[in-house]
């Protein structure tokens, strides 16, 4: 009897049945900010999708996939949005989506994690680390974070734009993404 209990406990601990499956809701916010002629300007990705297999107590099977529709990037002005579409910027006609995939999520501090994975943006694939804070209440969870990307590493703002004279190289991404259990 004792052996059976012990064995089942061990099995319970080692089996990766732990990850809950989450999906972003429509209420998420994903914005970007960049220096613009001595000031700063912001925009938002209005269409994106986050899939997260995640349990803070069981990170081995954690997996994050973020898909951003670059065609829905919005700077609040039709002219500027047209510029984002240009080959020099997102070239959204050719590269519709940016995709980040990570299966390596590590704990940094209580409630704080870092996802290391690959970002495929405008045909360039690079390793990126995404720090995020995790909160959960019952069947609602939120991941929130900020990271800075160098746009030129992904050819975003190429040619004459590839300096920080007019528009900064560092782009700050902010996200607050409410999640619901995947059905």
């Amino acid at each position: 009897m004792r052996v059976v209990v012990l064995t089942s406990l061990l099995i319970g601990l080692s089996l990766p049945v732990c990850a809950d499956e989450w999906k972003s809701t429509d209420a998420g916010e994903f914005t970007f900010e960049v220096a613009f002629e001595g000031e700063s300007i912001t925009g938002a990705f209005t269409a994106f999708d986050v899939e997260l297999d995640f349990d803070p107590e069981c990170l081995d099977s954690a997996r994050l996939r973020v898909t951003v529709d670059l065609r829905a990037a919005d700077m609040g002005d039709p002219d500027m949005n047209d510029v984002l579409f240009d080959p020099a910027w997102f070239d959204s006609g050719q590269f519709n989506h940016a995709v980040f995939v990570s299966d390596a999520i590590a704990k940094q501090a209580p409630g704080e994690f870092i996802a290391t994975g690959t970002l495929d943006l405008k045909g360039t694939v690079k390793i990126v680390t995404v720090p995020f804070a995790w909160t959960r209440a019952e069947d609602q969870a939120t991941m929130q974070g900020r990271l800075i990307l160098k746009r030129t590493e992904f050819n975003v703002g190429s040619g004459e734009w590839a300096t920080d004279d007019a528009i900064g190289i560092d782009v700050t991404l902010d996200f607050t993404i409410p999640l619901a259990p995947k059905e």
Partner: protein, 207 residues
């Protein structure tokens, strides 16, 4: 005002170091250095703005276009500041008298067109600021001084402000042309010193 004119007699001026007071102030016959400086500085800036604004507007989207617009907006607000200072100065220091032999209608016309010039030199930069304020493009004067944010970005309002700015700029240009033609008329046809007394580095021959 007679006080300041009277103050510019040689005997009093001697008491003031380097004739600074007299140099800067207008007399009954000619403009002082301050008024001349305002006039020519603002004149050069306005002409520059006409070119700069047109080039910036026509340029394709590029870092250069963005830079040109920062210059255009910054210089525009500089002009606004200079014009405000100029008006304040003029209120304390009346302009020289109109040349002899001018008819009442001529004086009245001169007053009206100068009034319009001052009005447009204030309103045109203000409408430019209005465009900037209602657009989504962020702006700091000369890349460093932030401007107060007065209105929320609004595409329709921005386009309206832009058309007002364009029309008033053409109106300003027309009045500037009238102003220059009038100066030439005084100089070449009427042969008085209206033009000469505004030229830099030229002092009142009587003082």
């Amino acid at each position: 005002m007679p006080v300041e004119v009277a103050a510019c007699t040689p005997s009093l001026c001697r008491w003031i170091s380097y004739n600074l007071f007299c140099m800067l102030h207008n007399t009954e016959r000619t403009w002082g250095a301050a008024a001349k400086s305002f006039h020519w500085l603002i004149a050069i800036l306005i002409l520059g703005q006409l070119g700069l604004g047109t080039i910036a507007e026509e340029a394709r989207v590029s870092p250069l276009k963005l830079e040109l617009f920062v210059w255009h907006k910054s210089i525009g607000l500089t002009i606004l500041l200079l014009v405000i200072l100029r008006v304040a100065w003029r209120l304390r220091n009346p302009p020289p008298l109109a040349p002899d032999g001018m008819a009442t209608w001529e004086k009245r016309l001169a007053r009206v067109s100068h009034g319009l010039l001052y009005l447009l030199m204030i309103v045109v930069p203000l409408t430019g600021w209005w465009i900037s304020d209602t657009s989504r493009i962020p702006f700091r004067i000369y890349w460093s001084v932030p401007v107060p944010d007065l209105m929320a970005p609004n595409r329709d309002l921005m386009e309206f402000a832009a058309s007002v700015h364009g029309v008033l700029t053409k109106f300003l240009l027309a009045i500037v042309v009238v102003h220059i033609l009038a100066a030439f008329r005084h100089h070449f046809l009427l042969q008085n010193d209206t033009l000469l007394r505004m030229l830099p580095f030229r002092q009142d021959p009587r003082s």
